[in-house]
């Protein structure tokens, strides 16, 4: 109970100020039948800091840690080196323990950071504007589909086969309830993206086409023809970026005329964290800003004419519009956005480009090496830092086998697309600046042994 400062004397004195004889008097509105006497049975009592630490550390030890083994998993979450100053700065209490900046006069730190974050994100994605972050990439993708519905007043969304299958699942879940029609496809291992097929599907009912860049197999394609086809049919192009480091090496979707660009910002500053918390990136063309979900920070002046920042355009939001709001979201991923922004500031343009180049070069070397393993084929013609291997047999048990050999080999398509036989042999391998030549060699050797 070390976090509770009241003493029993305090409690007695305060009860007498209130005019209550016991704490139970303050719970008189709880119906008698619903009151609990004494602590709930079957749950342990309070524990010391040392005891709790011991328990949690024991649980932590039961996991295979990415940083301690050759590690090649990606598919929407990437392991990058995070400079020490990022975690140090986000642990400053004034950032860590601040609330939503509802009182801007004493929240300029958070607000200026969000304004800088919005600008960094907009520039990276190539969009006019960006918001102050979403829960994660998958929910940002869903919100983008809803935004396209509101803008076009149409309800048919075409989802690329290259879109992360979990993002597709989230969209399917939500579409069941909002009435959107989703036209989905599976990725095809031997095709180099499905852009032409997507263009062929667009019609007068299409609200948007959603395409991932680079896609789930790691492939990259020019989005310009797709954007043109969308706009010719008054539909929107939504681009999804799950690996923002890629945009240090390849053209931004906004630059190719995507209307809405969403992304997962986890790669910068946030870390793997077993899937969350992450940070959703959300940018769009300026003309759609009032249909954008999430928080926005804007520049203004104070009563003395000094520059300052406030949360703005809240007339779109749930606390004002209630059932007419653009979304029900009432938070953002503030601390993760801060980590993203600090990491981006440390990198700067020069650092981001260098980081991207190192990632790409490492992936190229790894692909060439792994292609030499007997029975292994590299599927991709194009990629950034992630590519797909065809193992010639089911990849899922091989991944388990390699984990037992101390190598976390990648994400099998069998895990992502259970029951899809045409994809079962696929293994998605990610290489970042944290991957060494020795790691690649260890993977190649283990793979060769497992496939033999």
């Amino acid at each position: 109970m070390r976090y509770l400062p009241l003493t029993s004397t305090d409690r007695t004195d305060m009860l007498s100020v209130i005019g209550a004889s016991s704490i139970d008097d303050l719970f008189v509105d709880v119906p008698e039948a619903a009151r609990l006497d004494g602590p709930i049975r079957d749950l342990p009592m309070h524990a010391s800091e040392m005891a709790v630490e011991r328990h949690m550390t024991a649980l932590a030890r039961q996991n295979m840690v990415a940083g301690e083994v050759p590690f090649f998993l990606g598919a929407g979450a990437y392991r990058h080196h995070v400079p020490a100053s990022v975690d140090h700065l986000i642990q400053r209490g004034e950032f860590l323990t601040a609330y939503t900046p509802y009182q801007p006069e004493i929240a300029q730190g958070t607000l200026q950071m969000l304004f800088e974050f919005q600008t960094q994100v907009a520039r990276l994605l190539g969009t006019d504007v960006a918001n102050a972050s979403m829960y994660d990439g998958s929910t940002a993708c869903w919100e983008a589909i809803g935004m396209a519905r509101r803008i076009t007043r149409r309800g048919k969304a075409i989802l690329s086969g290259g879109l992360h299958p979990h993002y597709v699942s989230v969209a399917k879940t939500m579409a069941k309830y909002t009435g959107d029609v989703l036209d989905t496809a599976l990725p095809v291992l031997d095709a180099e993206t499905d852009i032409d097929a997507l263009i062929a599907k667009i019609d007068g009912d299409t609200s948007c086409v959603v395409v991932q860049y680079p896609d789930i197999l790691g492939r990259i394609a020019d989005l310009t023809p797709l954007a043109d086809a969308c706009h010719a049919s008054k539909a929107l192009l939504i681009a999804v970026v799950t690996e923002p480091v890629a945009l240090g090496a390849i053209r931004a979707p906004g630059e190719m005329d995507a209307d809405i660009v969403v992304g997962e910002g986890q790669s910068l500053g946030v870390g793997l964290q077993f899937g969350g918390p992450y940070v959703g990136l959300f940018g769009c063309k300026e003309k759609y800003v009032r249909q954008m979900p999430g928080r926005l920070c804007g520049e203004t002046v104070d009563a003395n004419g000094q520059r300052g920042f406030v949360l703005t355009l809240s007339t779109r939001e749930q606390h004002i519009r209630r059932e007419k709001a653009t979304s029900n979201i009432c938070t953002n991923s503030g601390l993760c956005a801060l980590a993203f922004s600090i990491h981006m500031t440390l990198l700067g343009e020069a650092g981001l480009r260098r980081l991207a180049a190192i990632n790409h070069a490492g992936a190229c070397r790894a692909a060439d090496r792994l292609a030499k393993v007997p029975g292994v084929t590299v599927v991709n013609d194009t990629f950034f830092n992630e590519f797909t291997l065809d193992l010639g047999r089911e990849a899922r048990p091989i991944v388990r086998d390699l984990a037992d050999r101390g190598v976390l080999a990648g994400v099998s398509l069998g895990r992502l697309y259970p029951g899809e036989d045409a994809l079962a042999n696929g293994l998605v391998v990610a290489v970042t600046e944290t991957t060494t030549q020795d790691d690649v060699e260890a993977l190649a050797t283990a793979l060769q042994e497992a496939l033999a």
């Binding site: 009241l6 303050l26 709880v30 619903a34 524990a47 949690m56 295979m64 990415a66 598919a75 929407g76 979450a77 400079p83 209490g93 950032f95 860590l96 601040a98 609330y99 939503t100 900046p101 006069e105 730190g109 950071m113 800088e116 600008t119 929910t139 699942s169 989230v170 909002t178 020019d222 240090g248 090496a249 053209r251 793997l272 969350g276 918390p277 520049e299 203004t300 002046v301 104070d302 009563a303 003395n304 300052g308 703005t312 059932e323 709001a325 029900n328 953002n332 991923s333 503030g334 440390l346 700067g348 343009e349 020069a350 260098r354 790409h360 590519f387 388990r400 984990a403 976390l408 600046e433």
Partner: protein, 525 residues
């Protein structure tokens, strides 16, 4: 204000608070800080990389050629920039943060240390399940606590925030109704005092929202609610304790009536911290309730997020909850139930609502906090939160209008109004004056059912001394507002900024930084 080449701003001395100018605009330890776009350059980087050739070859025709426009800073400049920014923030580490309904309590640093253990922070969500048994163990252990503390049947861990949890609960209700062949139930009843997210959530899931009025003592009008029940009603969304800080005495009676009419009860559990360990919502007939882990079990707000909103479910709704979830098998290992493993055992799940498993970092913090308190400590948490709120209510009701003070004890938060302030003075003036006293203001103008509402939530981690200082400050501010002290209209006077023009920000939105236009270019246009 012009910006010179090196990023210094301003370029001429400016007046300080009491008329003393400084060249930099700084005030000793309070340092003004330009934007990174004004001080960084695209050549600067604070990160060193390995030397070596990095020529790429598999990018197709998509190599980026145009500049991105991202400024970089050296490590020291970065540390200074963010440290200086941090000093423009109020935070719970600096003092009492009485935002009602937001629940700002102390963030124990052990939570942070545990969340950063590599075994939790450096594991990938798609690693083979047998390599992440400890991480799944955290999720499973936390799930057991949440189910037990709420007296419910199951829990969906993946929702990413409270409002996301609401969506989860409403989707489970919709799925259950459809399974029963009652998809025609299209109405969700929402009391007036509900969070704005409640109606937004119901509307998002395709329901029609109807308001239920409140009684004069700040609770749901049970008679009006019962009268509205019928074959078209899917659910009632109710907040308990409600946003007026009061316990909904009739919740069990309401639940029974809703169930008898074929509907479900959604409880907004944002205020669960007031009753944890003393009341189980399951005993009150609740079918679904989200728990804001950051509020009840203290995970840091970080300037707005991330949150985490697990949803506990009744036996009736549990089969419809989302994927993925964890299950401990007979041999002790923990299975991750997702699309592949759900199979025939879980045919009714409404599917996935987020890419991976939810907010693992928040789960670790919440479990650490829960284990530290234990079942006995959590009960004490609720009691101290309620004690502190009633102490504030009783200590101020002679000087501030307290609309529900006669309606029984408040729970974890106390509500006041601006009734009795001098003409032209309102809640916002009291709030801004509190800033000058060194406190973050209370929640303003919420809930909507109280005119000029001031909602104060001290939480259980405040000492009596801290409460007394806050009470003294708010008392003084209230007296000045009643007397019409003009200095309140221009407060705050000692904050990093004076009152900010929010109308200008909304009318002419400036959402990203753009380089200033050079004077000669401006003239040429």
């Amino acid at each position: 204000m012009s910006i010179n080449a090196s990023g210094w701003k301003p370029t001429a001395p400016v007046k300080g608070e009491n008329g003393v100018p400084t060249f930099t605009g700084n005030k000793a330890l309070m340092l003004e800080e330009p934007l990174i776009f004004e001080i960084g350059s695209t050549e600067t980087t604070g990160v060193d990389f390995a030397e070596g050739d990095v020529a790429g070859s598999r990018l197709g025709d998509l190599t980026r050629k145009a500049p991105i426009g991202l400024p970089g800073l050296s490590e020291q400049e970065t540390v200074r920039h963010y440290t200086r920014l941090s000093r423009q923030n109020y935070a719970i580490d600096l003092g009492l943060f009485p935002l009602g309904s937001c629940t700002m309590k102390h963030n124990p640093r052990l939570n942070e240390k545990m969340a950063r253990l590599p075994g939790f922070a450096d594991v990938h969500p798609l690693q083979p399940v047998h390599t992440v048994q400890g991480a799944l163990g955290v999720i499973n252990e936390l799930a057991v606590w949440l189910i037990t503390l709420t007296g419910m049947y199951g829990v969906a861990m993946s929702p990413k925030a409270g409002a996301h949890g609401e969506l989860c609960g409403i989707l489970a209700i919709k799925a259950a109704l459809e399974k029963r062949g009652e998809g025609h139930r299209k109405v969700v009843l929402v009391p007036e005092s509900a969070h704005g997210t409640n109606p937004a959530t119901a509307a998002f899931a395709g329901f029609a929202v109807e308001d239920i009025p409140a009684t004069p003592d700040g609770r749901v009008d049970t008679a009006a609610l019962k009268a509205r029940l019928g074959p078209d009603v899917a659910a009632v969304m109710i907040t308990n304790p409600n946003t007026c800080g009061l316990f909904e005495r009739d919740l069990k009676e309401i639940s029974d009536a809703v169930h008898a009419a074929g509907g479900y009860v959604y409880c907004d559990g944002a205020n669960f911290n007031a009753i944890v360990g003393r009341v189980r919502p399951g005993d009150l007939g609740v079918d679904a309730m989200h728990i804001n882990l950051h509020k009840t079990f203290s995970t840091p707000h970080g300037g707005g997020g991330p949150g985490s909103g697990p949803v506990v479910l009744s036996e009736a709704l549990a089969p419809f909850g989302p994927l993925p979830f964890t299950a401990r098998m007979a041999d002790g290992h923990i299975q991750l139930i997702e699309e592949e493993t759900a199979g025939d055992d879980h045919p009714d799940t409404f599917g996935r609502m987020v890419a991976f498993h939810g907010q693992m970092g928040m789960f670790t913090r919440a479990l650490t906090y829960i284990l530290s308190h234990g079942a006995d400590g959590l009960k004490q948490v609720a009691e101290d939160a309620v004690l502190n709120a009633n102490y504030v209510l009783r200590s101020l009701e002679d000087v501030l209008d307290a609309p529900f003070a006669g309606a029984g004890p408040c729970m974890h938060e106390a509500i006041f109004s601006d009734k009795g302030f001098a003409a032209g003075f309102s809640t916002i003036d009291a709030a801004k004056a509190l800033i000058d006293e060194g406190f973050h203001p209370m929640t303003m103008y919420f809930p909507l059912v109280v005119h000029g509402a001031m909602l104060v939530e001290p939480t259980e981690t405040e000492s009596r001394a801290a409460l007394d200082q806050f009470i003294g400050a708010l008392r003084s501010v209230a007296e000045r507002a009643k007397a019409g002290d003009p200095s309140l209209k221009t407060a705050p006077h000692f904050a990093p900024r004076a009152r900010l023009d929010e109308t200008l920000a909304a009318r002419k939105p400036v959402l990203t930084w753009k380089p200033p236009v050079a004077p000669q270019a401006e003239a040429a246009e």
